[in-house]
Assembly symmetry: C4
Homo-oligomer: 208 residues x 4
């Protein structure tokens, strides 16, 4: 059982994921011990961070192999990661973070998605021309993994999602085809969500 650990030590992607963890914690997007990161290692496997590990102190040895299909996964966060990997072979990195703005935003918006309009930075996350004009961020309620996956399935069938979704009060999920892209999508979504939260809060004071 030592082999996966030794392998990870030499896996450049595992090392990059640990570096990304430090960068994310530094920005205070991830309180101690929360969140879940993973990186694909094959068609049916990925390395996952362990629960309760401070993401600013990750080393490759803290990443554990995870294989699918599994029997019904009872941890919603792991179930979502697995779902995203199964959706497309292009999904190679998945990040779940907990920052103040995304958490508050997910609880204030009662609709099942929010449309972002008028920000130049939508261009950086859009997956279609129409999303450059109007970019939807899906917001799902926390629920048991079985129902959550059914709802996710419906969302992905309806339209391609722009690399992110929110679980109300339970974090922001971002996925990408590389660690660099994941970092970029995460930072862009943090920016867009923080702007939109502030804009809506302030808009009742202005223009009234």
């Amino acid at each position: 059982m030592n082999q996966p650990v030794q392998t990870n030590q030499l896996n450049p992607y595992a090392i990059q994921l640990c570096a990304l963890g430090r960068w994310i914690v530094q920005r205070q997007w991830l309180p101690f011990g929360s969140g879940l990161f993973s990186i694909r290692t094959s068609e049916h496997s990925a390395l996952f961070t362990t629960a309760d590990k401070d993401k600013s102190e990750l080393s490759p040895a803290d990443l554990l192999p995870y294989y699918w299909p599994t029997a019904a996964q009872t941890d919603p966060a792991k179930a979502i990661h697995q779902f995203l990997y199964q959706q497309s072979p292009q999904h190679k990195v998945v990040l779940q973070t907990h920052d103040l703005q995304a958490t508050v935003f997910s609880r204030l918006i009662r609709a099942d998605q929010h449309l972002f309009v008028g920000y130049e930075l939508q261009n950086l996350v859009a997956v279609s021309d129409s999303q450059r004009q109007c970019c939807p961020l899906a917001i799902l309620d926390p629920q048991n993994p079985e129902h959550l996956l059914q709802e996710l399935q419906q969302r992905f069938e309806r339209e391609a999602l722009p690399h992110a979704l929110l679980i109300r009060g339970h974090g922001l999920y971002v996925w990408a085809d590389s660690i660099d892209s994941a970092k970029r999508y995460l930072e862009t979504w943090q920016f867009l969500i923080a702007c939109e939260l502030e804009r809506i809060k302030a808009s009742c004071h202005f223009n009234s």
Copy 2:
């Protein structure tokens, strides 16, 4: 009298507490010279930080031994630390911090507690299954130590508190069975309080 100081220099927990002080000050949760940290050294004693010492520059020699029972303690912060140590032998570290969000939150909420609902991170501080669904944060008014301790006694008899309480305008208290846990509870409560303050502030603008 030099002996306690020399002992502290070799006490790994004292060194860890000083490191935690630097981490807390870095996040601006503790203006210069405010706050009180302590760490248990035996059934009836602990090391306390000295007043007015910048917590980003703590060294083990700045921690002074404190023994109980004492004659009536006139400093409310010290009285609360002593009370928490006397409640349970599992209480091994106590931190009092002053950050903007907790201070403002403690003054805005007029009830004697606030219930946190809908955050995944409640799991990290809950001490019972019901607190995972609905996690109460006690808020007490500042008062003389005698009345404060009576009220604290009543709160602890009513239910187990999730590792934290607020004194209105007088800081957040967090306790734990280790320095690592104290850091984790502190960070989680800072996150929950900041989210809830923002959520309540914003909720009148949304959904109206």
Copy 3:
């Protein structure tokens, strides 16, 4: 074609611009891969940052030469940089940044400019005595480059602008006669915009 790159490596202004990039990213005024910086190299040319490059990792080799007049420029950001260089030989540095406050502010203010009054720091950006009392920040809607340049032309003919303008949802532009001045104008405008956003938001709660 290697020559420009080698030249940049020895160009002290290119090195300074890269250092300024790190400083700007550190303050989180520029999400990953967004923004455009440039520095004049002659009457009709400048070095421009490349799209998608993280501005915290700029090196002089990442700056590419750009010459004008060009055929109609289709990228609005580049068109604005070129316009500013053509306005005056004193314009030697241009920065486009995306920070939360300026982005939100640009979307909340519906007028085509906002007047800053009552801040001592207006003195640091004013280009006339009257601007020390009342300092206008122009706000333009995003539009195709042709219309944008027409509107910019009209703005500059109406009055001298105090080293900055906003494109609604598309960033803050700052220009100056040196890198040091650009840094100063940028920091001052960030301060003024953040203060004014907070002041307007809060003013409905106070004094009511």
Copy 4:
């Protein structure tokens, strides 16, 4: 004329003041080139920072000697520093800073002072027992130096001020008998002002 500069290089207080400048800029309480710091050198003289110098890069050679009484001082910031030194020989350090919260707070409060009540940290700045309960922060309008000094004189005759005052939109002034105390008063007032601004903003949403 080289002598003062050389003297400053060996003046431990000048070196400490420069270190304090870096600490203040790091917290973003002082946009580039704004603010004025000084430290007393004798009954009738002090060292002043030069205008436009980035306070994060101060060296003792950037501090210039200033002697009083002077002919009528036309710079309001310098006039206030001189006034504070003349008030008491205990005033040995004066700092003027520009941070977002203090600037916005000074403009939102229309009264000529604001009373801070209910914060434990009032204890750290109070100069009398009554200020521990209710701590006044004076707020003056910017005006020409002559009128400003007359109004300051009246304020100081009315009561001892708790180490700080605000000029509306023109900065926070803090004074102390040492650099360590000045740092402490500055940090405490920044905390109190930020809390009170947030509390007043939020209070209309709560409890309504």
